[in-house]
Symmetry: C2
Subunit: 219 residues, 2 copies
DNA sequence: TGTACATCAGTGAACGCGCGTTCACTGATGTAC
DNA sequence: TGTACATCAGTGAACGCGCGTTCACTGATGTAC
């Protein structure tokens, strides 16, 4: 379990145990698993105050430790954010894979499901989503991040290949997958902003995603 | 003309005069047009250091004035950024309209051109582009900003209507326009990031935009 | 044309603040014997 | 089982820094006479 401690209370995070590879010590030894606690605190702050409102000081306050404590686990602030984002990407990818469950292979419905989960993550954790694709803003530039992104895109490419009857990732498969990704990516940003979202009128997300998948996969 | 003054030199901005409604005084009276100068300095810094790297202090340094000077023209920092973003949106819209020049009405080529210009702006001024769509990050929340966005989207909707043979903006016109916008919007973010861009393989931007326009407008 | 005055854009110094990071330290724990 | 010791996660105080904003001011300009 990951515990977030404030001065007066302990709060059990509602999400299921995410960093449970190593068993956490049961007793109150120091903090239990401060690394995971700080990552969770960082995530909450990024969601609450935006990708830039986050500060190490705040995260420490939320985790209930001194401001020097994080430096036993992370080199500096950006490594802390990076760890949080990586964890978010893994969750995002896992959720997308899970969304395919029970949908017949080769159906555009599979791409509709992937797109829906992509958007859902962006709406659920907009701060993390924006950090993942922050561009040159932060020092957030890690090969591991790119690798994780490629792995996720690979899932999409596999589905596209199946849908258009290819057995491998041809340039055309890549091109179609790239079109769908661009669409869903832009859609995520727009849906996350109430003012932008309005411009689409009455939006039926499932229909929109399915319609686009069919159009891009047709021929 | 908009002058940017540093300690030792005057630099004429390469862009054509943008804030030339009021004639600038010819002589060296104070700063000429500090408001425009600060907006330009803000724009440069946002591009150079990212949407968050920007500080009032830096802008003043770049414009060659004391840190108190901006407060004669702007209420606070966010008003300064807002002014800069608004100016960027107007340019963006004007560029898009200009891109239609000479392309026959009712042709998907017109939507291809609009999309190309949209992406081009995002690549030319990624910092400003990201600020426009920053979400909840900053206090950047102004009705004028939304209105400007709607006006730009209106251009797209008009073209879509013509392409699919409607004389007014029906829900279906809006839906198709929204699909195209989402695609181009996501594409802009992806193309701006070298690492993400790679995932598309060899990208022919014109073909990609044209292909998508045809697919979304077909039927 | 010359002078007195009002205007107001820009100055320069100062403020309080929160930030990221460091440092020598402490004290709970695991372990070797 | 009991003791001495090594380990190292977390402490608390301090640092230097750049930030946004304020203040009383100054001095170049435009204008009324």
């Amino acid at each position: 379990m990951v515990w977030i401690m404030t001065k007066d209370e302990k709060i059990l995070t509602p999400e299921q145990d995410r960093a449970s590879d190593k068993p956490l010590r049961k007793s109150g030894y120091h903090h239990g698993d401060l690394r995971a606690g700080l990552i969770e605190a960082t995530r909450r702050l990024v969601e609450e105050k935006g990708p830039d409102g986050f500060s190490v000081t705040d995260a420490c306050r939320l985790a209930g430790v001194s401001t020097a404590a994080p430096y036993k686990h992370f080199k500096d602030k950006s490594e802390m954010v990076l760890a949080m984002v990586m964890e978010g990407m893994e969750r995002h990818r896992a959720d997308m894979v899970a969304s395919l469950d029970g949908i017949p292979p080769g159906s555009p419905l599979r791409l509709q499901a992937l797109g829906k989960e992509y958007v859902a993550f962006a709406l659920r954790e907009p701060g993390v989503f924006r950090l993942k694709f922050g561009g040159f803003t932060d020092g957030l530039d890690d090969p591991a991040l790119q690798a994780a992104g490629e792995r996720t895109f690979g899932i999409v490419l596999n589905e596209v290949a199946q849908c258009i009857g290819e057995t491998e990732i041809t340039p055309e498969v890549r091109r179609r997958g790239f079109m769908l990704w661009s669409f869903v990516h832009g859609l995520s940003f727009i849906m996350d902003d109430e003012r932008l979202k309005e411009m689409g009128g009455e939006i039926n997300l499932d229909f929109l995603l399915g319609d686009m998948a069919r159009r891009v996969l047709s021929d």
